[in-house]
């Protein structure tokens, strides 16, 4: 079960075996056959994703506490937060949808940010503990189901729709959501899982430490 050469990788999309070349800072390696990005040398190492995930945590907090927007018609007003939307769907009987919306726009992004911070903090001094590996696989899942960008567009569409019927006023929450969209994108773009995997203590007790 001795691992083959550390710089040989198999493309996850087409299974081609190839050597990972040493990458210059900012460089990217693509699969020779199907063009998938196999890895990249992110220049900012762990500091940039750390900074972005901390900023994302703040934006996430604001996005969830502050109202997204308010409407008024005939002297009556109402406003909503993200969780207000989840609650309204639940109260109106669409319970399954309400739970899924909460998962996609509250739970998944929250876990994404918290996992990322934990991974980055624990990996500062290699070898990183084994639970970092477990978190890495969970971030893949939380990232896949986090839909903050889609929600942002959904809020804008509903804002335009309602604007034709009543007076609409955007709140602080919607600006926080906008910031969150960009911070989450930057967070995952500046993060290189291969780098972390090379720092994690192995399940079989080894830590070759050879990196990539």
């Amino acid at each position: 079960m001795a691992p083959p050469h550390a710089d040989i990788v198999a493309c996850p999309d087409c299974d081609l075996l190839q050597r990972m070349p040493p990458l210059p800072p900012g460089g990217t390696a693509r699969c020779a056959r199907c063009g998938l990005e196999l890895g990249s040398n992110k220049a900012g190492s762990l500091d940039l994703p750390m900074a972005l995930s901390m900023a994302a945590l703040i934006a996430f907090f604001l996005a969830n506490v502050e109202p997204l927007m308010g409407v008024s018609i005939g002297g009556r007003t109402s406003s909503t937060t993200i969780l207000g939307g989840v609650r309204a769907m639940w109260l109106q009987g669409e319970k399954a949808t309400s739970v899924l919306v909460a998962l996609f726009v509250v739970v998944a992004p929250a876990l994404d940010i918290v996992f990322m911070l934990a991974i980055l903090l624990a990996s500062r001094r290699p070898p990183a503990p084994r639970w970092v590996g477990a978190l890495l696989r969970w971030t893949e899942l939380s990232g896949a189901w986090s839909m903050v960008g889609v929600m942002m567009l959904g809020i804008l569409v509903s804002l335009v729709k309602i604007a034709s019927l009543a007076t609409v006023e955007p709140g602080i929450g919607i600006f926080a959501v906008g910031a969150l969209v960009f911070l989450l994108a930057g967070m995952s773009a500046s993060f290189e899982p291969r780098e972390i995997w090379s720092r994690v203590r192995w399940a079989n007790g080894d830590w070759p430490g050879t990196g990539r």
Binding site: P12, L17, G35, L100, V101, F104, V150, G154, S158, W197
Partner: protein, 211 residues
């Protein structure tokens, strides 16, 4: 004629599905675990063709009610007005925001349909062991994984319209059953894309018959 590309399958080396580390399976019956992350070693995702077909068919069944049933109903003092997805698109267009109308049309109507057709095409070409357009097909697969989540758009539109427009007695918005089917379509197609294994596109020919 051409050099056979050396793949993991040919070299009997499997990359870990979680961390990517290459390892040699202990045996066909019990391949063992990845020494780095402890995940069990799998050669290809389990029953990718059957699972993906099942999920596509389920999603196609939900696609109909998702488009026929209303996603939300607007109640005012004078009227009760249920709107379907298409109805919502028409309303946006009539209100003059044709850009948003187009975005909703693409996200809610076209993306799920494109995803279903494209996944069916990928499955059929894999089952026919086609060796043509492999690079294009794997790119198409990667694109499907990116666009999938955007069809949730209308569910979010309904959610926030319902939350905001509770101005009794003037105007209220309540969600319709279409929302549930619509969410089902999105989730089923995301699972369908995840259960397909893009390496199947390359397996035919070079790796035919063996595993």
């Amino acid at each position: 004629m051409t050099r056979v590309p050396l793949t993991g399958a040919l070299a009997e080396i499997v990359p870990c599905s979680v961390c990517g580390l290459l390892s040699r399976p202990a045996g066909p019956a019990s391949p063992g675990w990845c020494p780095r992350c402890g995940e069990s070693i799998v050669f290809r995702r389990r029953d990718p063709i059957q699972r993906t077909w099942a999920l596509i068919i389920a999603a196609a069944i939900c696609y109909l009610p998702a488009n026929i049933l209303p996603v939300m109903t607007t109640q005012t003092l004078r009227s009760v007005d249920p709107t379907t997805i298409i109805g919502g698109v028409v309303r946006l267009y009539e209100d003059g925001s044709w850009v948003l109308a187009l975005i909703v049309l693409i996200a809610s109507v076209m993306i799920p349909l494109v995803k279903l057709i494209a996944l069916a095409y990928l499955l059929i070409t894999v089952q026919l062991r086609s060796e043509r357009y492999r690079r294009e097909r794997v790119r198409m697969y990667r694109m499907l994984k990116v666009i999938g989540r955007w069809s949730m758009l209308d569910v979010f539109v309904a959610t926030f319209s319902v939350a905001l427009v509770q101005l009794r007695p003037y105007m209220t918005v309540v969600p319709g059953t279409g929302v549930l089917f619509f969410t089902a379509v999105v989730i089923l197609t995301i699972f369908a894309a995840d259960s397909f294994d893009p390496r199947l596109i390359w397996d035919s020919g070079e790796n035919a018959g063996g595993r």
